[in-house]
């Protein structure tokens, strides 16, 4: 089955994540609305998170949590380890998501602040500093 063949060859998460990154970048570059830029940045960050986590995707493995489902007995550490997926990307993504939220919040604050000062909704109206 060619689809499955193809899917097994590539990393589906990485692929969709990368495309999502491109979609986000396109949004950042093409939509002049301040909020739209922020939204596109969020989409891009989600894509990046997918890319990150894609490297920790191992077929057929479970979450890296030692519970009864994974390890019958807690002492069988080595055996449990062989059934779990890579935890490092997960740890990294956790951090990245929170940072993404922080950035988004701040970016939106600026947008709000600019609007409150009577500015336009398009980034084109903030080009007084140039050359």
């Amino acid at each position: 089955m060619s689809l499955l063949e193809f899917v097994s060859r590539i990393n589906p998460v990485a692929a969709s994540g990368a495309v999502l990154v491109l979609v986000g970048v396109w949004g950042v570059l093409a939509r002049p609305n301040l909020f739209k830029i922020a939204i596109a940045t969020s989409v891009m960050e989600t894509g990046v998170n997918l890319v990150i986590l894609s490297t920790g995707y191992i077929r057929g493995r479970t979450a890296p949590i030692l519970d009864s489902a994974v390890a019958g007995t807690a002492t069988d550490a080595a055996g449990a380890a062989a059934r779990m997926t890579d935890p490092v990307p997960q740890a990294l993504v956790l951090t990245a998501i929170v940072i993404g939220l922080a950035v988004t919040a701040l970016q939106l604050s600026y947008a709000v602040r600019l609007r409150a000062a009577g500015g336009g909704s398009s980034i084109e109206s903030y080009g007084d500093e140039k050359w």
Binding site: L29, M44, I52, P89, T95, A96, V103, Q107, G127, W131
Partner: protein, 1029 residues
């Protein structure tokens, strides 16, 4: 060593508790902020102390584990220096931010703490993902800081900044995760040690990492977002961005260098150099100071990145990593302190919207900071740039060298333009006082000076004599409030002491020039006493320039020579700037001065040193051209007339009669160390001869049409230097004798002229000759001085000037340079025109009623003139006084062409007996005088206007004194020769550079989205190039 983790705990704890502390009062909260920053500084310094005294770099793990399991921090020399620099900048900036922080919401202070901690974290961490976290901490802190004091423009910029920052961090994350995937670690050292990253996938992964860091380093053209922020933020924030943030990011780049392959490194180098060139080109077009500094920042950072990459590539430097650390580190330190200080200073001025000139202390700080930024000695950038240039020359990377020097020159142009503006201010504006806000810039300036001096004295220039100019300048600046006579005497004493200390180290040639250079300095230091009052700034600069001239003579290595040379250039530039209308001339003076110096530097770096400048081949030609620029040869002379005219009158004299001999000395030194030959051989000589001749003729012709005395004298100096060059180019005993004789003579009579003219200008208050007239009765001594000087200058026997002419023509005809002889003859004849005009318009003809009360010049001017007159008479009567030493100096390097027989000097073609000439002339003159007096019957003096005037009686001196446009028919006949082609050429050149800058800066549209587009395109193009490489 102090565990850096304590500092992170301290920063975070303080930041987290800040809202509670704030309840006790904002002051206390701010003290906490400053205290934490100071703690970082203390820690950085303690690390530096440990590491510099031989301590080992240390790693600090977290959570009780080591890499790769846990995150590890490393404190090495680079890290310690980086943390110190960041904390220092932070402290300076925080100090300037205090008021804003007090008035704004507390978020500002918290963001500041976070930003600084983040930057330090970037420096310290060895973990790639942790690096990302710290990048984000500092980025978000910065975003917060950009808007915290509610400047509307800064709010706009911050949004643009965030878009670009978001793109960069996404790129970075993608890079990090694939590095992890391939290398199975996040630790830098482990990743660098393995080979997993060498394949195509690894190259791509590292590329993303690198691209993100490069974008954060604000490369051209993807840096509009940053420049906007630099321009609009609070100056303290701009200082952090430009200084601390750049430091941290460069160290981050430095860290990942081991991961990079040659192709990556080429990208970094290319991008850095392009940024350096483009940043400076665009900066040159910028008239808003903060934005200008922004462009300068990105340019400097680009250069540092390029240097680091080039050194890593292996094509550069002697000691690999050491070299890179020294050069890149030196440049960075220089940039950091200078830019921090400048942002604070310029920002304070802009915040006040002040248009006046800066108060003295701030101005001095601004001067030091600007000079450091441009890489003048003795600041750290100078040493770094020298090593860089040397390495580039050694590696044969000439085009990079050209970019580096060209960019630096552009930078000098716009930075010094700003400085000139601030030094002069707009007319009618009150001086700008910054009060306590100047503390930061002053501190930065002091640190720069200290760091530079330390680097120099403990490094390549241990000879304290070479530091004398700086010491003298510093001491006299401190005494600047004291009366002028004290400083004048000190200056003279300094020159004398320098001469005494250096005398034994100088060979004959150098002693010969020392008399002119140091003596000239002392002479004009005395002349500077002509006005009362402290005359702030004049004496320190004059003394510094004088001693720098001396330092040029005692230099023993190329670096020492260049060090002294640039010192001289800088001091004399400030002298020009000090003049009343000195702003524009000073700018062209320093730009051409540095342009020449840079050529010299390239040549020196490539050539050797043999007790003199031993640069053969085309490095030698570079040196030659550099010296010619400084000498003011025709074509590159455009800086000369304005600077001589607009500087203070004693400074003009100093520049013309003493300082102009420095390039002459250097030419001799160059030729001497090549065995009395020029690089390039006879063709160079011939070309140099014609160039000298063109200079002589051009100088004379231009001088004819000037209305301004000092411009006349300036062009006259140009012409005289032309003769000296012409004679020098002959490269034989006759030529060198002539050249040295002319140089010494020029020193004598041009000093007299400038001294006399200084008196005239002081008394009449004008420089326009047609506004004077008939001053002979008011200022007889000055008249006599000018009379003798112009007789000598024009070469009319019996004064010593004729000796020069005789030697010159004998040389030229003997050498077979016949056409040159004819042109020289013509040029000498033209000199009569302006000399006559000079003495006629000022001293003769009809006096002006408004100048009825003019007195003789002050004693400080008259006395030196009397001495010089006596000397001139002595050497005229006894030419051997001057010629014997010169002949001895030239010695037996060449076959003898001139020989003395008693008082008669004999050449292959003819002879000249100066003493007999003087006696005959004196006798004849006495005879005629007696005849005249004997037949003088009933002489009557008549009143003004009692002249034979056709049928009417003139009433006004303005219409009777024929002085304005004196040689108009001459202009009609030969004006086509003096159409200022060189000026127009250089104007066009400037316009060309400006239009390139103008075209480039069209990229900076102000649209944040366009900036983001630039970022993405930049990354894409970089990737394409990576594929190509």
């Amino acid at each position: 060593m102090v565990n850096p983790l304590w500092l992170f705990a301290l920063s975070l704890g303080a930041a987290f508790l800040l809202p509670l502390v704030d309840r006790l009062g904002r002051r206390i909260a701010l003290v906490l902020v400053h205290g934490v920053t100071a703690a970082w500084l203390a820690a950085g310094l303690s690390w530096l102390a440990v590491l510099l005294s031989g301590g080992e770099a240390a790693e600090f793990g977290t959570a009780g584990f080591r890499a790769p399991l846990a995150i590890v921090l490393r404190v090495g020399l680079a890290e310690a220096a980086g943390v110190t620099a960041i904390a220092l900048t932070g402290l300076l900036a925080a100090f300037s931010l205090t008021r804003s922080l007090r008035e704004a919401p507390l978020g500002g202070a918290m963001a500041l703490l976070m930003a600084l901690m983040g930057l330090s974290g970037i420096v310290l961490t060895r973990d790639l993902f942790n690096l990302f976290v710290f990048l984000e901490i500092s980025a978000i802190g910065t975003y917060g800081l950009l808007g915290f004091d509610d400047r509307k423009p800064a709010l706009r910029s911050a949004f643009k900044y965030m878009i670009a920052g978001g793109l960069a961090s996404s790129l970075y994350l993608i890079g990090v995760i694939y590095v992890y995937r391939l290398a199975d670690t996040l630790n830098l050292d482990i990743a660098a040690a393995g080979t997993a990253l060498s394949g195509p996938a690894g190259t791509a992964a590292v590329f993303f990492l690198l691209a993100a860091l490069l974008v954060e380093l604000k490369p051209f053209p993807a840096n509009g977002w940053a420049v906007d922020a630099y321009e609009t933020a609070h100056p303290g924030i701009s200082a952090i961005l430009s200084g601390a943030s750049a430091t941290a990011l460069l160290l981050a780049l430095w860290k990942i260098l081991p991961l990079l392959g040659p192709a990556h490194l080429s990208l970094v180098a290319g991008s850095g150099l392009a940024t350096f060139a483009a940043g400076n080109l665009v900066g040159a077009r910028q008239d808003r100071p903060l934005r200008m500094l922004g462009y300068s920042s990105v340019a400097q950072v680009g250069l540092v990145a390029a240097v680091a990459a080039l050194a890593r590539l292996g094509g550069l430097g002697d000691g690999g990593a050491d070299f890179a650390a020294a050069v890149a580190g030196g440049l960075l330190l220089n940039h950091l302190l200078a830019k921090t200080g400048l942002f604070l200073l310029a920002g304070a001025v802009e915040d006040d919207d002040a248009r006046g000139r800066l108060a003295p202390l701030s101005l001095a700080a601004a001067g030091v900071l600007s000079a450091a930024l441009v890489g003048l000695p003795p600041f750290p950038g100078f040493w770094a740039k020298w090593r860089l240039v040397r390495a580039l020359a050694d590696s044969g990377l000439w085009w990079i060298l050209a970019i580096v020097l060209g960019g630096s020159l552009l930078e000098a142009f716009y930075v010094f333009r700003w400085l000139g503006l601030r030094a002069k201010g707009e007319a009618g504006e009150a001086p700008v006082r910054l009060g306590i806000r100047s503390a930061g810039p002053v501190l930065a300036a002091l640190l720069l000076a200290a760091a530079g001096a330390l680097a120099g004295i403990r490094g390549p220039v241990p000879d304290l004599l070479l530091w004398a100019p700086w010491a003298a300048a510093a001491i006299l600046f401190l005494l600047d409030g004291t009366p002028g006579w004290l400083k004048g005497l000190l200056s003279v004493a300094a020159a004398a002491a320098f001469g005494a200390a250096a005398w034994d180290r100088l060979d004959g040639f150098r002693q010969f020039f020392a008399v002119m250079l140091l003596g000239g300095g002392a002479l004009f230091s005395i002349a500077a006493l002509r006005k009362g009052g402290p005359r702030r700034g004049l004496h320190p600069l004059l003394a510094a320039a004088t001693l720098a001239l001396g330092a040029i003579l005692v230099a023993r290595t190329p670096l020492e020579f260049f060090f002294a040379w640039e010192t001289m250039t800088a001091a004399s530039w400030l002298l020009v700037l000090r003049g009343r209308g000195g702003e524009k001339p000073a700018l062209s003076y320093i730009v051409f001065g540095l342009g020449g110096a840079f050529l010299l530097m390239a040549g020196l770096a490539a050539g050797g040193w043999d007790g003199g400048i031993a640069a053969a081949g085309w490095p030698g030609l570079l040196v030659l051209v550099g010296l010619l620029v400084k000498a003011g040869a025709l074509g590159v002379h455009v800086w000369l007339p304005g600077s001589y005219a607009e500087s203070d009158d004693e400074s003009s004299g100093f520049l013309s009669s003493a300082l102009s001999k420095a390039p002459i000395f250097a030419l001799f030194a160059l030729a001497l160390s090549l065995g009395a030959a020029l690089p390039g051989g006879p063709w160079t000589s011939r070309a140099l001869g014609w160039l000298g001749l063109a200079t002589a003729l051009g100088g004379a012709l231009y001088a004819v049409y000037q209305e301004d005395i000092k411009r006349t004298l300036a062009y006259s100096s140009l012409g005289q230097i032309g003769y000296i060059l012409l004679a020098f180019a002959a490269m034989d005993q006759a030529g060198w004798t002539t050249s040295l004789y002319l140089a010494l003579n020029h020193f004598l009579y041009k000093s007299m002229l400038f001294l006399a003219v200084a008196g005239v200008i002081q008394r009449t208050g004008t420089r326009n000759m047609y506004e004077m007239g008939g001053l002979i009765k008011k200022m007889p001594v000055s008249f006599l001085s000018v009379l003798m000087a112009i007789i000598a200058l024009s070469g009319v026997p019996p004064l010593s000037g004729f000796g020069g002419k005789w030697l010159l023509y004998s040389t030229l005809i003997g050498k077979g340079w016949y056409l040159e002889t004819a042109v020289a003859f013509f040029a000498s004849a033209v000199a009569f025109l302006y000399l006559y005009r000079l003495i006629h318009s000022i001293f003769l003809g009809q006096p002006k009623p408004s100048q009825a009360n003019v007195r003789e010049a002050p004693v400080a001017l008259v006395l030196p003139q009397l001495v010089l007159m006596a000397v001139l008479m002595a050497v005229s009567v006894f030419p051997r006084l001057m010629l014997d030493p010169i002949l001895a100096l030239v010695g037996d390097r060449f076959p003898a062409a001139f020989v003395f027989e008693g008082t008669r000097l004999r050449s292959a073609l003819g002879y000249w007996d100066g003493t007999l000439t003087m006696i005959v002339t004196g006798g004849v003159f006495a005879l005629c005088l007696v005849w005249m007096l004997a037949n003088l019957h009933n002489p009557q003096s008549v009143k003004q206007f009692n002249i034979v005037f056709a049928a009417e009686r003139p009433l006004r001196p303005e219409t009777t004194h024929y002085a304005w446009r004196f040689f108009e028919p001459y202009r009609k006949a030969l004006g086509f020769l003096t159409r200022e082609r060189a000026e127009r050429f250089w104007d066009a050149f400037g316009t060309g550079a400006a239009s390139v800058g103008g075209a480039l800066r069209r990229l900076y549209t102000g649209n944040g989205q366009t900036y983001a587009l630039h970022v993405v395109l930049y990354v894409a193009v970089l990737y394409l190039l990576l594929g190509v490489l």
